[in-house]
Assembly symmetry: C2
Homo-oligomer: 335 residues x 2
Amino acid sequence: MKINQARNLIIKTFKNYKLSNKHSSICADALINAELVGAPSHGFARIISYCNRIKKKVINPKPKIKIKKISSSITQIDANNAVGFIGANLGINHAIQNAKKTGIGFVAVKNSGHYGLSGYYAERAAKKGLVAFCFTNAPPAIAPHGAKKTLFGTNPVCFATPTGSKVPFVLDTSISMINRGKIRRAAKLGGKIPLGVALDKNGNPTTDPKKALKGLQLPIAGFRGSGLAWMVDILSGVLTGGNHGGKVKDPFDDFSGPQNIGHLFIVFKPNLFVKDYTKRIKENIRRIKKLPKLKKFKKIYYPGENKSERFRSNLKKEINIPQSILSEINLLNKS
Amino acid sequence: MKINQARNLIIKTFKNYKLSNKHSSICADALINAELVGAPSHGFARIISYCNRIKKKVINPKPKIKIKKISSSITQIDANNAVGFIGANLGINHAIQNAKKTGIGFVAVKNSGHYGLSGYYAERAAKKGLVAFCFTNAPPAIAPHGAKKTLFGTNPVCFATPTGSKVPFVLDTSISMINRGKIRRAAKLGGKIPLGVALDKNGNPTTDPKKALKGLQLPIAGFRGSGLAWMVDILSGVLTGGNHGGKVKDPFDDFSGPQNIGHLFIVFKPNLFVKDYTKRIKENIRRIKKLPKLKKFKKIYYPGENKSERFRSNLKKEINIPQSILSEINLLNKS
């Protein structure tokens, strides 16, 4: 499907589910971006869940969002159970505004939902010349170190900075060995997942995505990954007023209430302490890129660079939406 | 050696190397803390390097430290090549002060040196009821993803929060599979390192700490760990005005100039967005601790809890300083 056509389909769908024109556009931009950066698990595959949640009244299509200015740097947003993209969009915009004014923007969002890719928001700050952290939590997927039950989400650590080139440095690294969306998509399309990234509910290794969804995803690096996921749960849940400690509901399966996901955005100016940040970061990247490479590597990429190459290449192509997903979306628009 | 006796030995040694009484005490507190939390690689074993660097005039024992207030939240410190503990101590103190005043403290330190354990500083903020990130870089130890040469330090991600109990949550996780200090200590004491944590200079796995020191340490989780180490290098080096991109000198071997390590401290109040942070974090920890456990685990620990247990237990014991290290320190005090 052509990109613009795909975008219009998303807007039409969300408008059918009572979102405003503006909010439908914000959702469409985030979902199209996910498809273009090569993360289809965060693209069209998600629309069904958002619409189902609106239908079951656990996402509010007409949110009354409250924005509370705590100081010139600090803002709190209550997203009133809007689709995650809406609260997150406001969150990063306020963090950017505050950072431009005072040097630092520190913004918490609560009563939000799944906001897609963290890197999407961090990149926007970086493209405006700012450094950013974005944190969000997610439904249980990873077992804390020592536990045989999942509790943490895949809780990414996300950081971006301008690089002096068109392509910002955007680290958006899940703490899970595999992206939960990838497992879900494999389950939907009947594929398999690699061995060693997940366990079934009995704690045995599995390549069956359906068994993995009922079981545990493995964290990176044992207690280190577990600790990072815990940190993200505290920052995005405990601190913001969002759900935390395993209470974020699964957006696909659990309609017993809103997700109340929290997001935290920390944005700051890169030139607070040095006058020549752009020169310095360019030099940093240059030194790393010119290192001797391992045999199978032609090039050393900085985080986000690869994704940006995919984005530019995909911009010239049509978006490939699996027929099963397209049929469900068409059904959504008829019901 | 009794703790107080060990402390006095450190103070005496640093005073012999021209540090003031106050600065010697700050160094002693950090080094004793490292011994007590069970990180001897960051304790007595380091004194020799600090003194040698003072002797070779690449650490300044009488620094003229400049503190520049950029806003009520933001402070910049030029540590004038002091021992790392001195600049870091000022850095975390200013970050705490700023956070208490405005909600956020954002402090960069440049022209500093190896500051010991990040968790030591983050814990101090947490014990004053604040949330903290601490970042510092280090000499090359880890190869960026795709490179066959080391460039990043072991660059820990460090985060702490109060927990409502006496023991704060302190995540201080190196991005390396093994702490460089542990390899160095094994080399000094003639021990071995586990297989799979480091490669020799030809890229082959090794258990010989001396070969590992000349080779590469492996990052956790491939490109994810490499990206996190890169992020820490940017935050503590590029942003602060410190050295970065592989230019931090080895404190043990390279006396060609000061290290100019940078540190970044981000400290904030936990109750900016919620009134009941203490209740919330307690509930968060309670939910995780009560999860069913894997067979070999009696208890689920939060980051820092284990270390705190070791600290309390070690407080009742003498500090075990290897004779080889003690002899070198005695020699330092005679020369």
